[in-house]
């Protein structure tokens, strides 16, 4: 009787690799690619005081992949004295945005840099309406979001003193895990208002963005955890991305090992079957 392989052994191997190598830190060498460098250079090219619109379009399920790049980008932007207006068309995103801002503000405070809510950064919260909401944000930000996530009228916030629409925005940065996401921002805002744009997306979404990067609609993009790790390497601040990348590197090799072993078993079985048929 043919005995089937218990796949729980595979699960155990994956679980062990993840748990063990999260506990054993080691340093990998990074060579950030053009896409990651494009994001870094776009942020670096903005003069201090410029406004970045951070469109946060992901929820807690994608935090493991996107929060590291989210924190790294916010850290880099605030450290360069850029001001951030964050909004979302995903209902589960505003608490994630709040968390990233608070965490980065606390880190900067420790470094002796004080950043204030409403002056240096603001969380506008969620706006229902998918693509229409994105188009509306493009026409007028205060009209689309009359109040921020904390309930304060946005026109009374210092950061909104001279901001009405994307004419005053230096860079649009989208972090997304699906639709609506980077593609919708490209269609509804980047193309229409000719605003500079970068993005950070999950690894499965990254292949979609190559054509927009090649057409220069996107100045750069971060794809998955590797993008976050490369960005952390560029800003010289190791964080969740680089820590997670060690485990992801080894997991990729483990999965490749499974593919090879699976194929060896498959061809062995085929060869045996053919031999039996000939006999």
């Amino acid at each position: 009787m043919k005995k089937s392989f218990d796949r729980r052994w595979l699960f155990l191997a994956v679980g062990l690799v993840v748990v063990v190598f999260l506990r054993i830190p080691f340093r990998l060498k990074y060579a950030p690619n053009q896409k990651t460098r494009g994001v870094y250079q776009a942020v670096e090219s903005l003069p201090p005081g410029s406004i970045v619109y951070l469109a946060v379009d992901y929820g807690p399920s994608s935090q493991a992949e996107l929060l590291p790049m989210h924190e790294a980008l916010v850290y880099h932007m605030l450290k360069r004295d850029l001001r951030i207006i964050a909004g979302s068309v995903w209902e589960s995103a505003p608490p994630v945005t709040d968390k990233a801002f608070e965490k980065v503000a606390a880190v900067l405070r420790k470094e002796g840099i004080e950043k204030k809510y409403g002056e240096d950064y603001v969380n506008l919260g969620f706006k229902a309406g998918l693509d229409v909401a994105i188009a509306k944000i493009g026409s007028s930000i205060p009209e689309t979001y009359p109040k921020d996530y904390r309930g304060a009228p946005v026109k009374e916030l210092p950061i909104f003193e001279d901001v009405e629409n994307f004419d005053q925005i230096g860079l649009l940065c989208n972090l997304s895990a699906g639709s609506p996401g980077a593609r919708q921002w490209l269609q509804q805002v980047q193309t229409r208002y000719n605003v500079r744009m970068v993005a950070g997306v999950t690894a499965v979404m990254a292949p979609d963005l190559y054509s927009f990067f090649q057409s220069k609609q996107l100045e750069g993009f971060l794809g998955g955890l590797v993008g976050a790790a490369e960005y952390e390497y560029l800003i010289e601040r190791p964080g969740l991305g680089m820590a997670g990348m060690n485990v992801q590197s080894l997991s990729h090799f483990l999965i490749l090992g499974f593919v090879i072993v699976g194929n060896i078993i498959y061809f062995w079985g085929r060869w045996k079957k053919r031999k039996e048929e000939l006999e």
Binding site: R7, L10, P60, S61, A128, K136, P207
Partner: protein
Amino acid sequence: MLQVRVPILITIFVGVFMILKFFFHVPFIKGVADELEQWCLVAFAMAIVLGVANILRINLRVVMKRRKDWPYKIVLVFSMLVMAGVGLFDLITRGDVSVGSRFQYLFEYILTPLSATVFALLAFYISSAAFRAFRARNIRAALLLISASLVMIGRVPLGAAISGTLPKLADWIMAVPNTAGQRGLIIGAAMGVIATGLRIIFGIERPYLKGE
């Protein structure tokens, strides 16, 4: 007759102004289109209320009739009501649901770990699928397998540490064959969207009229 004509006229009116706003920067057109977008956002917000009501209606019916998986429906309805109730309580007592609120606490310590756990299960399923299904059964499957393996190891720093050629190969696969295929899809989909959009705007296709 009015039941058919009025929705078609509204669709034509809204669609034409949206197209005009995209191509012409005329204050009158922009004003009308902005107002229509605002109405659309209000309709979306109302749809959320309807969605919540619908979730309650469907799931409570399953619970009442003790249909398949009814205990899970209780968990769903209970969780939804708790999150909504805590959020409303925070809004009334402190005016927001941001940092430091009870809502944020539930989000951070219950919803986030639960969502992340479900997402993380993918790693186990992918490893199982890699072992059991990713086989070089023919030339095309072999090509897919080789390119996927190259991208998988070329995109991580450990692959680059083994050979500097691996990341270059992975990048080439992503930037050339992948992008060529993606472009074809994007162009095809965009043409389909334009055609369908025009058919809807001019009332040839009326999905909102349920086939009338």
